[in-house]
């Protein structure tokens, strides 16, 4: 056997990796996890180098779901790209729609009526509830708690999807936002349904937390696992709950104050340790804040039009220029960067995907942990491969 290349064995500064004793060099094992692996949340592949059961190197392999969104966006009209944004992060179509609509509205200089802004907030917060519930369910599934939490989470997801379906006609691919407003004005029955869901969601969270948050096994599996230091998170461009779990107060709803968010009173939960448990906990607390936002938005929903009367759906050609629209999606900063040359199609259509950029720190989180921990660390980063590979 030839001498193994030991250059990568040197532990990165600050990591918990032990230097491997010379006589064990031949025992390093390379394991390919994925692209078909039940816990990789889609078609994602990790090439893990193991010393015993400890990860000494992790190489992520992307591209198994590369559906050329950005190239398709250059060849379709502005409005026809809206359904494609649904399929980026297919759990959160409403927030993807909003980020794209915001970018085009900035490009074309469209105003959005107050009722539509409130409606967008309501739908975005429902999406956040949906995403975080499902994430907690999937994370617990990855921990080995097979079935039950995911069943609870999907029970609530179905309730939210019923509302989405009755409003937009589709469960997952809502295609709801338009440039300068929203597609449909909700009925009073629909708003009553949202009110009912909002009133009941706290009880679900209490039940969910009673099962999980104080659970000794869950705490043992997640506390201190996959610590992300705030400087690394900032320099890697991590956003969303993963960043806030590391204690960095950065929430675009507060920083940018887009839409109607400045009119609402809510807090931004922050973590202390940046470990997997904090990432779980930050999401649970964010859901409780989302319920507060939903209550306020429903109570103060103004009357009026839902579309800017100047907005044109057909023959839409914004002036030449460029714009970047970003919002705080459930996974982080989802942004769209558009360059227009005055034609019906964008000249350049770029997606800033939160999951992809959050995934770049995966190796740093996993080094020194075991394979089973890598699975739950990946689960806590919350990726959707449609958005990672685009």
């Amino acid at each position: 056997m030839s001498a193994p290349d030991s250059s990568f064995l040197a532990p990165p500064a600050g990591s918990q990796v032990r230097a491997v004793h010379d006589e064990f060099h031949g025992d390093l094992l390379e394991v390919s996890m994925g692209p078909h692996h039940p816990s990789t949340h889609g078609v994602f592949r990790m090439i893990v180098t193991l010393d015993g059961e400890t990860i000494v190197k992790l190489k992520p392999v992307f591209g198994y779901l590369h559906r050329n969104h950005e190239k398709l966006g250059e060849n379709t009209s502005y409005l026809a790209s809206m359904p494609y944004t649904d399929r980026l992060d297919y759990l959160n179509s409403m927030t993807n729609n909003w980020a794209y609509a915001l970018a085009v509205e900035r490009l074309a200089g469209l105003a959005v009526p107050a009722r539509a802004e409130y409606l967008r907030v309501i739908l975005a917060e429902l999406t956040r509830l949906l995403n975080h519930s499902c994430l907690a369910g999937f994370l617990l599934q990855d921990c080995g708690c097979s079935g039950t939490p995911l069943m609870y989470a999907f029970r609530e997801r179905e309730k939210i999807l019923d509302l989405f379906e009755s409003l937009s006609g589709s469960r997952m691919m809502c295609n709801f936002q338009r440039f300068g407003g929203c597609r449909v004005d909700p009925s009073a029955d629909w708003l009553a349904g949202v009110q009912q869901l909002t009133d009941g969601y706290g009880a679900f969270l209490d039940e969910f937390e009673a099962l999980l948050t104080g659970n000794e096994i869950f705490m043992a599996r997640t506390q201190g696992v996959g610590r992300l230091a705030a400087p690394l998170a900032i320099s890697a461009g991590v956003t969303g709950p993963v960043l806030r779990a590391s204690g960095v107060a950065h929430d675009l709803r507060k920083v940018d104050g887009y839409g109607a968010y400045p009119q609402f009173d809510f807090r931004v939960p922050l973590g202390d340790h940046g470990d997997t448990y904090d990432r779980y906990m930050v999401r649970i607390l964010e859901m409780r804040e989302s319920i507060q936002i939903l209550r306020q938005a429903l109570a103060r929903l103004p009357d009026g039009p839902i579309m800017d009367p100047k907005a044109k759906l057909r023959g839409f050609r914004p002036k030449a220029g460029e714009a970047y629209g970003r919002i705080e999606g459930p996974k982080g900063e989802i942004g769209f960067y558009l360059i227009s040359d005055g034609s019906p199609n964008p000249y350049r259509y770029r997606v800033r995907p939160p999951s992809f950029i959050n995934l770049t720190i995966l190796e740093d989180l996993c080094l020194g942990h075991t394979v089973a921990d890598a699975v739950i660390i990946l689960g806590s980063v919350d990726i959707v491969l449609g958005e990672v590979d685009r």
Binding site: P35, H36, H37, P38, G42, V43, G63, Y64, L65, H66, R67, N68, K71, L72, N75, P83, Y84, R87, Y90, L91, L150, M151, F154, R155, R157, E158, R171, M172, M173, L385, G386
Partner: protein, 229 residues
Amino acid sequence: MSDAALPPDSAAAPAATPASEPITPAQRDDLRRQGILLTSIEELYNWGRSHSVWPLNFGLACCAIEMIAASMARFDIARFGSEVFRPSPRQADLLIVSGTVTKKMAPQVIRLWNQMPEPKYCIAMGACAISGGPFKQGYNVLKGIDRFIPVDIFIPGCPPRPEALLHGLVQLQAKIRGQPLTGPDAPRHLRSDVECNCPIPEFGAHDLVPTQNPTVWQPPQPIVRPDKA
């Protein structure tokens, strides 16, 4: 009742009359009402395996979320005997191609199909798996998984609702129950003249090579107008 008892060559003889049914369906129902179950091995075998179709725990894209939703409390795929999602292809009967198959992923999907033991079935779930769907114009998306592996059930939708997946599963069960165990229509695993494995494409200079599996898919014949012929 089937002609399972007959030797295979007698069925092919031109003068052979269809085997006379020893018992009519009405008579059999009469017997069932009196608690006597009269059946054939074929019927019993197909009945059993049609109600324990174990899918592969394999999600590709958006449709995978609806596949998971179908296995959750509201839709409850367990009612149809298919709640046991197996992570290993060696233990699975059903490959649900739930989402977009890209050119990078296609070799792995076909390898998974080859690794599954017979009898095995394939459901193409969603527009992408059937034809490429909304991404068909793109450079990296397969224009239908049926070009590479034999697909039993196609479920249209983007994504299909969980009810549609359940309907597809019920259709697959009906298909399994209708499979004769002998004769020219017997399933692949009971015949020696059919190749079960599909060739795994490699990524060539421009596209996957081969671009299709000619035993399961042929390009459609061009339509020629009679006056232009």
